[in-house]
């Protein structure tokens, strides 16, 4: 009875590595094979808007803008770090909980 869950865990953990690897490959592929500026697709959209409607001017401006590219990358990194922290915390908590439950199950069955 104990064997089956372990096998399942192994196959999902292999699948997880494959999933993470595939994401990295997908992100790296364009960098290696496609020559581009790698600006934001948003800026391209802005350019297209001014092509379609040459006189258009944005009628409202940001209340706050990051002082420089460095600051903006800091804020972006913080956003990712906070999010990843919460995801890691919850998954870690769940993992610990299910492991301690398994241990107590094993003890009671012994």
């Amino acid at each position: 009875m104990n064997q089956k869950p372990t096998k399942n865990y192994q196959s999902t953990s292999r699948q997880n590595w494959l999933l993470a690897g595939a994401v990295i490959v997908l992100a790296a592929f364009p960098l290696v094979f496609v020559r581009g500026e790698y600006g934001g697709s948003d800026d391209q959209a802005k350019k297209t808007i001014t092509e379609i409607k040459p006189g258009y001017k944005p009628w409202f401006n940001h209340l706050f803008e990051p002082a420089s590219g460095e600051i903006s990358s800091l804020l972006f990194a913080s956003q990712a770090a906070m999010g990843a922290g919460v995801v890691g915390y919850v998954i870690g908590l769940y993992k610990g909980r299910s492991q301690s439950r398994q241990q107590s199950d094993n003890k009671s069955s012994e």
Binding site: T12, T48, I49, K95
Partner: protein, 239 residues
Amino acid sequence: MAGLSGYIVLGSATPAAAMHISEGFLPVQWAAFWWMVALPFFAVGLRSITRITKEHPELKLLLALAGAFTFVLSALKIPSVTGSCSHPTGTGLGAILFGPSVMAVLGALVLLFQTLLLAHGGLTTLGANMFSMAIVGPFAAYFIYQLLLRTGSQRAAIFCAAALADLLTYVTTSIQLALAFPAASGGFMASFLKFAGIFAITQVPLAISEGLLTLLVWNWLHSYGKPELETLKLLRQES
């Protein structure tokens, strides 16, 4: 001359921004229209979140995870085959777990953060961006998931739901821009094809990435978060 000054204003005002519709780039009436469309969904989402947290306080952590997943994914600007960058949305996971209206709120919070602190997106265009990322995406994910669940494996359903939700978010953005800026010749369709060429095509590989990452988190939840997933199945039967 006007074009040049316009270019200078545009070029200097905004550092490379890679998300949705930028501040001030929707005419007033369209900005107001999308705000009015988005707000009811936000209200329903708020009610549904209070109901979930009241009935099942133990699900708060999972709710935080769903929000945090969107938070991470929308911070990742990933290069794409078109030679520009865009980011995934991460709204599929929460929509599958909690139903789509919850993501209207969580997605809106992420968009608000990016608008206020990162100058990405905008307050005037928040309604439109909420509609594409926090409403169309999650609802698409939810229905695609329900549809595919009947025909095949749950994992395949989750992957497709998350990937298509991501893609449809950007298709929606293209439609919104094309409605507001129809081309002088060719009208809506010509504009739509232009914007879709920018957003939707860039998004194809990112949508696949999002599907894979959603599956990764789902695998973790499936291994360690069984009790919560069981509770949520009950929730789904109730509603």
